[in-house]
């Protein structure tokens, strides 16, 4: 026996070593996003993964006086602006815009919307100069003087005014602050896409490190999609580890209490270990990597896989070898494994990578655990008879024989089903955020900071398409007149068009062509200066700049290299699937339907309104539909398996009825507790189905005698305690996914056990079949 154990150990160690060497864990949450059918959905996914919004990090400094916070804000912006992890860090201060302002100043004649030929005629120039004279004499003259000689017609200001984002945080001491002056704000754009949690974690560490070195007394709060990704990875990892450890300890303690001997405990853990390890390896082989959520889920496999060896060992009679017991209960065990595999099979076929991984892990893990229990354990033990004290579990015969608990359960189930039917579909989750593993408190903090900053969340944008970048920019420009009308009518709060700072090449060329040649300009200027106190040569720089602008090639993306606007352009003017897209984010849209219709009615018809919330809820609905279909097919398959395996419709009914009731009651209790059912709840219900059917099958197996009945009772109590312990701990997790699965399965398993005990036990008359 020792030799066999050593062999098994060596096999296991080799597998474990292999796994440790090759395992690649990824946390891209979009693995749990549905593969998107429509272009809009693909756009949404690409935006969520690595779009502009996904890269923005919100930094709030607090815990010091206003002056210190303002200094810390400037120092931090300077430091992050030069860090490799960030494209830029903005804090509202003017000097930050120096590099960007230089680009805008240099290309003002290509950018300014007010440029046309009459703009430089003598009367227009005269009017502009009179206005400049007023400015010069005002207290703000000190500001306008800086550009007056080069730009008397005010193109630079016109360009800047156009770029004014409208809603911005309040300024104090020249940097962004909350209204009450308690928090200083920065917005940083990370180089890493939002989903890359590892590099996002590096960016977060950079902020903390920089601030600790500069202003250790200032506290910092960070939010944003990337921060969420990093934080949820950390949470999932620590939760999965901590909670798995807790449940493992509880299970170990229970096993030691039940068996009072080390060998059976080790034997019980063997199938779990093999199942988990091989399951993870198969997932890795099929998908190339294992998702962190899948790994977190592996904890749930423990709860189920540990049932089989327990059932086997606790069912061995005194003096019986494990091999004989395995033969005796083999049929039931096989059916139990097959039903769980059937429930997981549905997931495996899912088109979502994340769900498919969960399915494969469960399926392979359960099969391996079942096989190990049925074959490996008896082989390891050989002819050795395991001796351990068999606990006696009270039969509760009075309750079991009484009819009223069953009747109450049936009534409750019926009421629950009716109530759920009445409330449908209010209890389905429609928010895509429910899929994200971010705890609600973090999302709340994020929206609170956004409110304080006056930076509303973008829920709409216009996508303008084109075969080339130039064509897309042209399409993006065509919508500006519509958007401007809507803004003036107060039907849009603000919009932010990339076409403002990167006009289509044709628009730029038209503006530059409208510039007069040097001789004509000088002549007009001479006339315009008449009667004004300006020195005759005061505007030589202006004449030179216009001459230079006429020679300039059109500006492009590269003109903005290294500036915040450049980073923004890269996020808003994108190539997706061989097509160019210009994205114009909108804030505060009053009547999305009307706007969508107006955009669709435009002659070119290249722009459409993208409603992020609507697309995401469509996606969730599609996601749920698929999960429901799969659950349905899985349930049908299980029913078929049971009918064939049990060879009796009546026994099939006895096994399935309590589990169906348990599922209904679980959903009722969850919904009554205020939860909305999302995809992860459905997955968890599939698990309940698998685990619950195991119980019902074990209960239903007609026992030979009273001793066997006692053994069945004990094994079932042990199984259910381990399941409830595992999933109960999981329900403590702050990560929504793990919490949903944990609470659903713990509740479902408990209800399954109780209802199986009430309904699935064979009638006395059938005892000796």
């Amino acid at each position: 026996m020792l030799a066999r154990c050593a062999l098994a150990l060596i096999c296991f160690a080799a597998l474990a070593l292999f796994a440790a060497k090759t395992l690649r864990v990824e946390t891209d949450f979009s693995a749990f996003l549905p593969p998107s059918a429509t272009p809009e959905q693909r756009l949404l996914i690409s935006q969520l993964r690595d779009g502009l919004v996904s890269r923005l990090m919100l930094v709030a400094l607090h815990g010091a006086d206003e002056k210190t916070l303002a200094q810390a804000s400037r120092a931090l912006a300077e430091k992050l602006g030069h860090a490799a992890e960030f494209d830029y860090a903005l804090n509202g201060s003017l000097d930050q815009f120096a590099a960007q302002a230089e680009v805008l100043m240099r290309h003002r004649y290509a950018l300014s919307p007010q440029i046309n030929a009459p703009h430089f005629s003598a009367p227009a120039l005269h009017a502009a100069l009179v206005e400049q004279l007023d400015q010069l004499a005002s207290p703000f003259g000190v500001l306008s003087k800086a550009t007056l000689a080069r730009d008397p017609t005010g193109e630079f200001l016109a360009t800047l005014r156009q770029l004014d984002p409208g809603a911005m945080p309040a300024l104090r001491r020249g940097v962004w602050f909350s209204g009450d002056g308690k928090r200083a704000f920065l917005i940083a754009q990370t180089r890493a896409p939002g989903f890359d949690s590892l590099r996002q974690a590096e960016a977060i560490a950079k902020v903390h490190g920089a601030l600790a070195a500069l202003y250790p007394q200032v506290a910092v709060t960070l939010t944003g999609p990337g921060v969420f990704a990093a934080e949820s990875r950390r949470l999932i990892e620590s939760d999965a580890l901590r909670l798995s450890l807790c449940s493992a300890l509880v299970i170990l303690a229970m096993l030691l209490f039940v068996y009072r001997s080390a060998l059976p405990v080790v034997l019980v853990l063997t199938p779990v270990a093999f199942g988990l390890l091989i399951g993870v390896l198969v997932v890795q082989a099929l998908f190339g990597s294992v998702h962190a959520v899948t790994l977190g889920f592996s904890a749930t496999l423990i709860g189920e896989a540990v049932d089989y060896p327990n059932y086997l060992l606790l069912n061995t009679a005194r003096g019986e070898t494990a091999r004989r017991a395995a033969q005796r209960i083999g049929g039931t065990l096989l059916l139990a494994v097959l039903t769980t595999v059937a429930s997981a099979l549905a997931l495996t076929l899912s088109s979502f990578t994340g769900l498919a991984q969960l399915g494969v892990l469960t399926m392979v893990g359960v099969m391996v655990a079942g096989l190990t229990t049925h074959r490996l354990l008896p082989w390891l033990l050989g002819d050795r008879v395991l001796e351990f004290r068999r606990l006696d579990v009270p039969t509760g015969a009075n309750i079991a024989r009484a009819r009223w608990p069953g009747a109450i359960a049936a009534t409750a189930t019926l009421c629950g089903a009716l109530w759920l039917g009445y409330m449908h579909p209010a209890w389905w989750e429609t928010d895509l955020a429910s899929i994200s593993p971010v705890p609600p408190q973090m999302r709340e903090l994020d929206s609170q900071l956004r409110r304080e900053m006056g930076a509303p969340e973008v829920s709409f944008f216009v996508a303008s398409r084109g075969a080339s970048e130039a064509a897309a920019l042209q399409a993006g420009e065509e919508i500006l007149s519509v958007l401007q009308q809507w803004k003036q009518g107060g039907r849009i709060r603000s919009y932010d068009s990339p076409a403002w700072y990167l006009p289509a090449p044709a628009t730029q060329a038209a503006r530059l062509q409208a510039l007069p040649d040097t001789a004509a300009l000088q002549e007009n200027l001479l006339v315009a200066l008449r009667g004004l106190p300006f020195r005759p040569d005061a505007f030589t720089p202006f004449v030179q700049d216009i001459a230079a602008a006429r020679m300039e090639p059109p500006m492009n993306r590269a003109s903005y290299a290294g500036t915040p606007l450049g980073a923004k352009l890269n996020a808003l003017v994108i190539e997706l699937e061989g097509e160019w897209l210009v994205l114009t984010p909108l804030v505060g849209v009053n009547d999305p339907k009307l706007l969508a219709a107006e955009l669709a009615a435009m002659p070119a018809g290249k722009s459409s309104l993208v409603d992020l919330a609507q697309i995401s809820s469509q996606m969730v609905a599609g996601y749920r539909r698929e999960a429901l279909h799969q659950t349905g097919w899985g349930a049908l398959l299980i029913l078929l398996l049971l009918t064939v395996g049990l060879r009796s419709p009546r026994r099939t009914w006895r096994v399935t009825a309590p589990i169906a009731a348990a599922l209904v009651l679980t959903v009722t209790l969850l919904v009554a507790g205020g939860q909305r059912l999302g995809v992860f709840h459905l997955v968890a219900l599939l698990l309940v189905l698998g685990v619950g059917l195991n119980y019902a099958l074990f209960f239903e197996r007609p026992p030979a005698d009273a001793a066997e009945r006692a053994r069945t009772r004990l094994s079932l109590v042990v199984c259910s305690v381990s399941t409830v312990a595992t999933f109960g701990f999981l329900s403590l997790s702050a990560t929504p996914v793990l919490h949903a699965i944990g609470s659903t399965v713990a509740l479902g398993a408990l209800l399954s056990l109780i209802l199986s005990a009430l309904w699935a036990r064979p009638r006395i008359s059938e005892m000796h079949v």
Partner: protein
Amino acid sequence: MKMRPSSMPALFIALMALLVAITAHADNFDLARLMQLLTLSPEGEVAYTEKKYSSLLTEPVVSSGTLSYRRPDTVEKNMVSPRKERFRIAGEELIVARKGIENRYPLSSQPLLSAFAASLRGVLGGDAELLRQHYRLKLEGEEQAWRLELTPLDDEIARYVERIAVSGRGGHVEQIEVRESGGDRSVLQVR
């Protein structure tokens, strides 16, 4: 009567004493005294003429209007000629009314704005503490002809304003000269 020679030194001493007393009085005119005088001067409205000198101009641009101060912190500059324009600093805001459009800027938003407001409020209200937050102060002259020079402490402001020189008589401000960093300057003269 012939003066005794011995009385000559006595007279000299008396004259010296008087001189010293006068000088001592002049020495007594310091920043605290100026601030006290400014604090005591009545609120009200005065007419002004402002001349803006710039390297871009052949002759200065002249404007005129009224300047008024109300305790504790309201300063209003009403330009009447060559056009109507109103700058009003009140509470935490600068309000600019120009061409029928009113714009409001929170003073705390930009250092330049808060320094600009502080220079007017500090001088007109006699608030040395407020002035010292933004400027280095240098006082010259005597009570009836003083000149107070404000040099910005903050580099951010020094980028635009080199110094502000305020001169006056007793508790009355007579002239405010702002010298910009580029060499341009404006001189506001109270009439």
